[in-house]
Symmetry: C2
Subunit: 192 residues, 2 copies
């Protein structure tokens, strides 16, 4: 993520720390109360960072939220188990675990919601989404190169077929994301 | 939906009309501003229905929102094209169209978000979700009975495999829900 709001190219530790505190506080408030519960007043109060300092780094609440959101979600490693099915099981099992336990998973709906009414947030959210799908994309490309799946595989449809069902269970039907489910989705998608 | 907030068993037309006005206004505000933008004050102002009347029908904002939300989403017909693939294409094409155009589709994220922090809303949201999947469930059961798919098909995984990818594109990756995508998801799921 470009740290476009940093003051200068080599900000001192104090500036860096207060930025980190503000971002962490913003994420905490997002988790507790969703985007509707976020105000710069409350972030200043809780973080102990002055409102003027916050506004110097992020001229609007939206920019702060976008900055905080772009740091949401753990980086996923790209697995290399030796075969496509194994890689997918590893990736999706890891994702299922994150969806069930990681704090950001309860923040996501509030970003999705705000993105309905805020184009810049919608854009950054789509970008975060694509970034998060990068390891999956790598695994798919490798399978194509190794001839495990056809060259003309529609990558984007395959990604939706793999991630969509997990998101559906986490945020819509609220059913468990267990190992049997992950295996079912992977086998469904690769046709074993 | 049980109209448990109705006063008496045979409410007169005036009560019915003012209830409908309040629900319609609530849905309008949900669409425009999300759940965060909803207050009973604002609903009273815009609907012209007195706050005291609103509170008589719905003692809390949450109950009103739940009532409004439970009326979200068009009833889908259960198709009967003669074969499983045709039924699924019909159902999912219809859903893709609704997700792209229907007003409730921009309200859903705000319910999903609120459900993260409100158990009664989470419960009603899961129920709405199951209700909406009913035609799909019927189509799957019919295919099992006709021997088009195995008796031991995991219905719930299949529903997630069919609906999840559409939800993923609508609310997460924001990619188009076109005919090729719907066909890809259906063929992926039924293995043709």
């Amino acid at each position: 993520m470009p740290t476009r709001n940093l003051i200068g190219k080599d900000p001192d530790q104090r500036v860096k720390r207060s930025r980190e505190t503000v971002i962490r506080t913003t994420l905490e408030l997002l988790t507790e109360a969703g985007l509707g519960g976020i105000s710069v007043d409350e972030i200043a109060r809780r973080s102990g960072v002055a409102k003027t300092t916050i506004y110097r780094h992020w001229p609007t609440r939206s920019e702060l939220v976008i900055d905080a959101c772009s740091q949401i979600g753990a980086e996923q490693e790209t697995p290399d188990t030796g075969d496509f099915e194994g890689d997918l099981i590893t990736l999706l099992t890891n994702l299922a675990e994150l969806l069930s336990t990681a704090r950001w998973s309860s923040v996501v709906p509030s970003i999705v919601d705000a993105a309905e009414r805020d184009n810049s947030l919608a854009e950054i959210h789509s970008r975060i989404q694509r970034d998060h799908a990068a390891p999956l994309r790598t695994v798919i490309e490798r399978a194509v190169q190794k001839g495990e799946i056809p060259k003309n595989t529609d990558r984007s449809t395959m990604i939706a077929a793999l991630l969509g069902p997990l998101f559906y269970r986490r945020w819509f039907s609220r059913e468990p994301l267990d190992a049997a489910f992950v295996k079912g989705i992977v086998q469904n998608t690769i046709g074993t």
